[in-house]
């Protein structure tokens, strides 16, 4: 029952992708959208079945592996196509398929009238399938396969507008950055095979390597996590990935892709726990990313980019949580973040949709007057993002902060960084909200707001947004750290937490974070709504996103470019092109010479034939 549910959950989106691809123009565009939506919802239903089946088991028996066939077998090493259904993977399945199906349903309305909707929905289904493969795989090899396929699907979707050069560039950037992470992960897996001889989770964890090998393995896995989750130093692809259609951004940021890094750390935590240095490094990277992304988000002017940086920042929190051993807290934030980040992107998508594709917030303003529901949804999402009681982010983010307090002196550093991040979150989230939705309607908004669906978006888009808004309000109540913590209990058999904050620490963290978040909102209100505080000129370094792109250009692109140019001048033109010239000239001369022999005199041909025959005869006779 549970195994069947797991397979159904995994294969439905794949079936949809294949069916849409094979059906081609035989099904309507709308049918492709509905097929994709329904299969993703089916996946969610199957995940729910697996969840309830798992709920019926004893907590310590909640791990079911099902193998369909042996995939690879070489000597002692063999690995199968195995699906693992345990508390962690079921939780991810529910998030991926659940939030994913809402996003796909939303895209049916959003993508209406695009040229190649069928291709879009096939890619979306493929994306969901890849992510499900990643979280359901019962061994590290399947996880790596899903990992790579997620990279591929994101490449396809980010570059969906293939006639736009910037979209293609962004897609390539995302793919290359992710391929870097895939490579370090593959290296880690090689090390694991060498030292444990297996790749299934139980087997690897049972004889997890120690010492230097553990550090190397953890570093390799961290490389993959950092690339996929867009943390420093491999984060630069994420803001550029906004080139894709808005539902794609929502899918990448909420349900699939960027959360994979957090999942990886939680899933392979026994490997990380043997490498303290890497755990600390991951927490440090997460803290650095959450601060940096928060700062950069303050000055961005593209509505989707601001939200993208907020994702980086929130994933930073999850990294901190997962890396200090507060696994359930990290996963909890992943869950609530999926709700409110999908909500924010989809509400932003409604605004962009209504303004005929405009994304620059400087041309927006006062949108809330014409789109009150969207405004409310966005407000709910922003409050949840900042972590204001009783919205979802409050419960999850604050429990991560509380957990850092139980992590010694290094935890204090993380705690302070997290608190500063909370203030920044309040500031940038409400800067966006006030600029876009409140105040006088901008001239651009008045001229371009088109209302053939009424004032708000179409119903097909609105219901998903409102569902997510409700989830963003109530979703956090699943776990309220000092009082009830079912999520921590649920995940305990898979990932036992290393930190256990006291009740006082919970209260302290919640109080401080709430105060700082409110302070951020207040400053944003003064600066962007009342305009009593003059907004300082945006520092150039922040507008330039702290020069990461330029740095990578200097380290990688420019040297490669210089070497290539030099080789082109010094080697390719004289040697390769030159030798080809000689060859062609030689062939030209040779064929002209041979052409002379063909003189058109039949008798000379006959003579040549006879002469040749005579020579051959003589040769054969004399050789014998």
């Amino acid at each position: 029952m549970m195994d069947a549910a797991a397979w159904v959950c995994l294969l439905l989106p794949l079936g949809s992708a294949v069916a849409i691809t094979l059906a081609g123009t035989r099904i309507s565009r709308r049918a492709a959208g509905y097929l994709s939506t329904l299969t993703t919802m089916g996946s969610f239903a199957a995940a729910a079945v697996a969840f309830f089946a798992l709920l019926g088991d004893q907590p310590e028996e909640r791990a079911h592996a099902t193998t369909s066939w042996t995939w690879l077998s070489a000597g002692q090493f063999s690995t199968g196509v195995t699906l693992l259904t345990d508390p962690l993977s079921v939780m991810m399945m529910l998030i991926v398929a659940g939030v994913g199906s809402l996003i796909v349903a939303y895209s049916v309305g959003y993508m209406e009238g695009e040229d190649e909707e069928r291709r879009f929905f096939a890619y979306m289904s493929l994306f969901v399938f890849s992510m499900l493969l990643l979280v359901q795989g019962g061994n590290l090899l399947l996880l790596l396969a899903g990992w790579g396929m997620v990279g591929l699907s994101s490449y396809l979707l980010i570059g969906y507008y293939q006639e736009r050069a910037s979209a293609i560039r962004a897609a390539k950037k995302a793919f290359v950055m992710n391929a870097f992470g895939d490579a370090t992960m593959a290296l880690a897996l090689f090390l694991l095979i060498e030292h444990t001889g297996r790749l299934d989770y139980a087997g690897v964890f049972a004889n997890a390597p120690t010492g230097t090998v553990a550090t190397l393995v953890a570093l390799g896995l961290l490389g993959g996590a950092v690339a996929k989750s867009a943390q420093i130093p491999l984060h630069t692809w994420l803001p550029d990935a906004m080139e894709g259609p808005t539902p794609v951004s929502a899918l990448i940021h909420a349900a699939t892709m960027v959360t994979a890094g957090v999942y990886l750390i939680v899933r392979t935590h026994p490997l990380f726990e043997n490498a303290d240095f890497v755990m600390d490094l991951a927490a440090g990277l997460g803290a650095a990313t959450l601060l940096m992304a928060g700062l950069i988000a303050l000055v961005q002017t593209d509505i989707k980019r601001v939200i993208a940086y907020s994702t980086m920042s929130q994933i930073g929190y999850m990294f901190v949580g997962a890396a200090i051993g507060a696994y359930a807290n990290g996963m909890f934030h992943l869950l609530t973040h999926a709700f409110f980040k999908a909500l924010l992107f989809m509400a932003a998508g409604l605004v962009i949709h209504a303004l005929t594709g405009e994304q620059d917030i400087r041309r927006m303003g006062g949108i809330g007057r014409v789109m009150p529901w969207t405004r409310t949804a966005f407000l709910v999402g922003s409050l949840a993002l900042v972590g204001i009681f009783p919205f979802a982010g409050f419960f999850s983010k604050d429990s991560i902060l509380a957990a850092t307090l139980d992590h010694g002196s290094y935890g204090m550093v993380l705690f302070v960084a997290g608190l500063a991040g909370t203030f920044l979150t309040g500031l940038y989230a409400f800067r966006l909200y006030f600029i876009v939705f409140t105040g006088e309607q901008s001239r651009f908004a008045r001229e371009h707001h088109h209302s053939h669906h009424g004032r708000e978006g179409p119903f097909s888009m609105m219901w998903t947004v409102l569902t997510l808004a409700v989830l963003s309000v109530v979703g956090g109540w699943i776990q309220f750290a000092p009082f009830w913590h079912p999520l921590t209990d649920w995940l305990e058999p898979v990932a036992e937490p290393l930190v256990e904050p006291t009740e006082a620490q919970e209260w302290l963290a919640s109080g401080l974070a709430l105060a700082l978040g409110l302070a951020g909102i207040a400053v944003a209100w003064l600066a962007y709504s009342r305009r009593t505080v003059r907004v300082p000129h945006a520092p150039r370094a922040l507008v330039k996103k702290l020069y990461w792109d330029e740095l990578y250009n200097w380290i990688w692109y420019h040297p490669a470019d210089t070497v290539a140019r030099y080789l082109g001048r010094a080697f390719e033109r004289p040697v390769i092109a030159g030798s080809l010239d000689v060859l062609t000239r030689g062939f030209g001369l040779g064929s002209r010479g041979l052409g002379l022999a063909q003189n058109g005199l039949v008798r000379s041909y006959a003579l040549a034939l006879g002469g040749g025959l005579a020579v051959l005869t003589v040769v054969f006779l004399s050789v014998r």
Partner: protein
């Protein structure tokens, strides 16, 4: 085994063959060249048949019949070409028919 030695037959065959070959190499009239080719084929046939008799084998004879069939069809093609040349009132001289030179 009756009759002259096989060598005599072979000498006659090579004479026929050389005669034909000379005709092909030296004459310029396509009709004569075609005739000469036939003479060469007959020389070869004679050699085949004499060997067949000498070795007491029928293969050579069968092969000679096959050669005759090929020769007959070849004559049809060749004569057809020559008739086509004549219809177009071209001079029957292979040295002048050299449109195909490289």
């Amino acid at each position: 085994m009756h009759g002259p030695e096989v060598a005599w037959y072979l000498i006659l065959a090579s004479l026929l063959f050389v005669t034909g070959a000379l005709g092909v190499f030296l004459r310029r009239n396509p009709l004569i060249i075609l005739l000469s080719v036939e003479i060469m084929l007959n020389g070869a046939n004679l050699a085949l048949i004499s060997f067949a008799r000498r070795l007491g084998h029928e293969d050579g004879q069968v092969f000679a019949i096959a050669v005759m069939a090929v020769a007959a069809s070849e004559v049809v093609v060749g004569l057809g070409l020559i008739v086509a040349l004549g219809r177009r009132e071209l001079e029957l001289d292979v040295d002048k028919l050299r449109t195909l030179r490289g």
